[in-house]
């Protein structure tokens, strides 16, 4: 079984968010990047578990500059066999999907996994675009993935519940919480990561259909009105008369 896992980077969840150049660009100063949590904790780890029980290979793929390599090495340390970096700035999701699709078309992958979303741009869109460009089924928000022969059984979130779906290879999935447990790289993995092959390939021509023109920090709440616990009942009046939400 050949599995491809899409790996992106994201600022650490506690990073301070700031913008520069007149609010047109994200200020990376002092920002620590991590593997996007959904890609690492769920997509990659489940891919590795499947490979360990059923055999096969796990390849990672990332669209990004050289600064992405530390992220890819972390995926190697956790257990990926090899990785691809497509050397371009991932500014538009369609552009990224077109890059990954071009590579995946040649690879005969059985399962392609993305994360549920990147925690910086929160798009949840790469997996769907990729599946369309590859003309494959797509199951988003998968919380469980099992494989028997060349059939995947997937549990995924739908509005108001969950669904269990069966689909033959090849298919594209986006991975959400529940699919696997976080795996901490061990010393052997970290050593082995150094010798694994990271292929760098150039981007292909593809349109950038969207671009971010500017950013604004969301306004926090100005003041919190404190209500004495003894007088908790008065909250309900305030919610009615002042906040007008009940």
């Amino acid at each position: 079984m050949k599995i491809l896992v899409c790996i992106s980077k994201a600022p650490d969840t506690t990073a301070k968010i700031a913008f520069k150049d007149n609010n047109t660009a994200f200020d990376e100063n002092n920002v620590q990047y991590i593997v996007n949590p959904y890609d690492e904790w769920y997509a990659l780890v489940r891919a590795l578990e499947l490979k360990e029980t059923l055999g096969g290979t796990v390849t990672t793929i990332s669209v990004g500059g050289a600064d992405m390599e530390a992220i890819i090495r972390k995926a190697f340390a956790i257990g990926a066999d090899d990785g691809v970096r497509i050397d371009g700035e991932p500014t538009d999701t369609y552009f990224v999907a077109a890059q990954i699709a071009a590579y995946a078309k040649q690879g005969a992958f059985d399962i392609i996994l993305a994360g549920k979303e990147t925690i910086n741009y929160n798009g949840s869109s790469l997996g769907g675009m990729l599946a369309e460009l590859l003309d494959m089924p797509y199951i988003s928000m998968a919380t469980k993935l099992d494989v028997a022969g060349s059939t995947a059984t997937v549990e995924c979130d739908i509005d108001g519940g969950t669904e269990v779906i069966e689909c033959d290879f090849p298919l594209v999935l986006s991975a959400a919480k529940g699919m696997a447990e976080v795996r901490i790289p061990n010393m052997r993995g970290i050593m082995a990561a150094r010798t694994k092959v990271l292929n760098v390939i150039p981007v292909i021509a593809a349109d950038k259909l969207t671009e971010v023109k500017s950013y604004t920090l969301s306004q926090g709440r100005t003041t919190c009105k404190m209500i004495d616990a003894e007088n908790a009942a008065s909250l309900i009046e305030m919610l009615h008369n002042e906040a007008k939400v009940i």
């Binding site: 369609y94 929160n122 869109s125 003309d135 604004t216 919610l239």
Partner: protein
């Protein structure tokens, strides 16, 4: 030329989020001199009047039991076919779980620029089109410019007040060619959380965290929610240890919600929790620790023991409801 809106039925009614999307499409249509066309698949006996009332000039009902509505590939082919037939350059969704699977696919198929989770009306100026979307889990807003002629926009649920003061239009049935319906996925089982208020659509939410000490203490949280007509939610550790079902978990790794009212009981307010709730209009925090970070993100705060405060609130809501009748 028209703007397509994908809509759905849930529990015998057009979904509220779908009506928001119709309102949104009608607004853009009025600005651009076009009209909004709502599409609905297998609506059964449900009245489709609300679609016209919410602003659709045309309602297309695709009634065909052979459609596997769980397959994003099939829905994409159908919507692309309708867009072609209607000459639509723009398709609007509500950014719910169906849209998360279908909208990006459709965008790639149409080669349309896609903005997932728009929070405002777009800014349309001559040929340029831009719209705001939350980024960094709600910590910032980014203005996305769409460069392509075709566009797919999904709207963050609960971003707009729904209005249905227009006139109903009769639904026209629309047939799709059978070859679009080939599906490779088989649905083996559907598990629905029956009767509960859907959390992403709820206007009022009562949520609780580890401060509740154990699942046996959730009775008062459910009672407060019931008295208010609110949905219930929880912090991540609470669903991780199994005190509450997984689908109630809100935050960065759970679902993001933006109700009118979010009441957080015994939740510390970690940044990853706030990421899922800070779009709420009004936030109330009840915590025994005056230093809990959540107070910094709240509109109303009560420092106190949940086990004393919540029962008082339940009584106060009962009195309030009685006075309203």
């Amino acid at each position: 030329m028209s703007i397509l809106v994908y809509t759905e039925v849930s529990k015998g009614k057009i979904k509220k989020a779908s009506l928001e999307a119709v309102n949104y499409a009608a607004h853009i249509a009025s600005k651009t001199g076009t009209s909004a066309t709502a599409i609905i698949i297998n609506a059964g006996e449900t009245s489709l009047d609300d679609l016209g009332k919410a602003g659709a000039s045309k309602v297309l009902h695709i009634n065909n039991s052979a459609i596997n509505t769980s397959d994003s590939q099939v829905l994409t082919r159908i919507l692309n076919h309708v867009a072609d037939t209607e000459g639509a350059q723009m398709v609007i969704f509500s950014n719910d779980l169906t849209a998360k699977a279908v909208a990006p696919r459709l965008a790639a198929r149409m080669k349309a620029g896609f903005v997932p989770g728009a929070v405002d009306y777009p800014n349309i100026d001559g040929g340029s089109f831009s719209v705001n979307k939350n980024v960094f889990s709600g910590k910032a807003v980014a203005t996305y410019q769409v460069n392509s002629a075709k566009k797919v926009i999904s709207l963050l649920p609960n971003s707009f007040q729904v209005t249905t003061d227009g006139a109903a239009v009769a639904a026209a049935s629309f047939d799709v060619p059978a070859d679009l319906l080939v599906s490779r996925i088989k649905v083996k089982e559907v598990k629905r959380e029956s009767n509960e208020l859907s959390l992403p659509e709820a206007e009022l939410v009562v949520s609780a965290g580890r401060g509740m000490k154990g699942p046996e203490n959730w009775g008062m949280i459910e009672d407060l929610a019931k008295q208010l007509g609110a949905a219930t939610a929880c912090s991540r550790p609470v669903s991780d240890i199994g005190w509450r079902p997984h689908h109630e978990h809100v935050g960065q790794t759970g679902i993001a919600i933006r109700p009118n009212l979010y009441i957080a009981v015994g939740i510390s307010g970690a940044i990853q929790h706030l990421a899922g709730v800070n779009g709420s209009k009004t936030i109330v925090v009840i915590n025994k620790d005056p230093e809990a970070p959540f107070f910094k993100a709240a509109d109303y705060g009560i420092v106190g023991d949940a086990f004393e405060v919540v029962p008082k609130l339940i009584e106060a809501v009962k009195k309030f409801k009685a006075s309203q009748n």
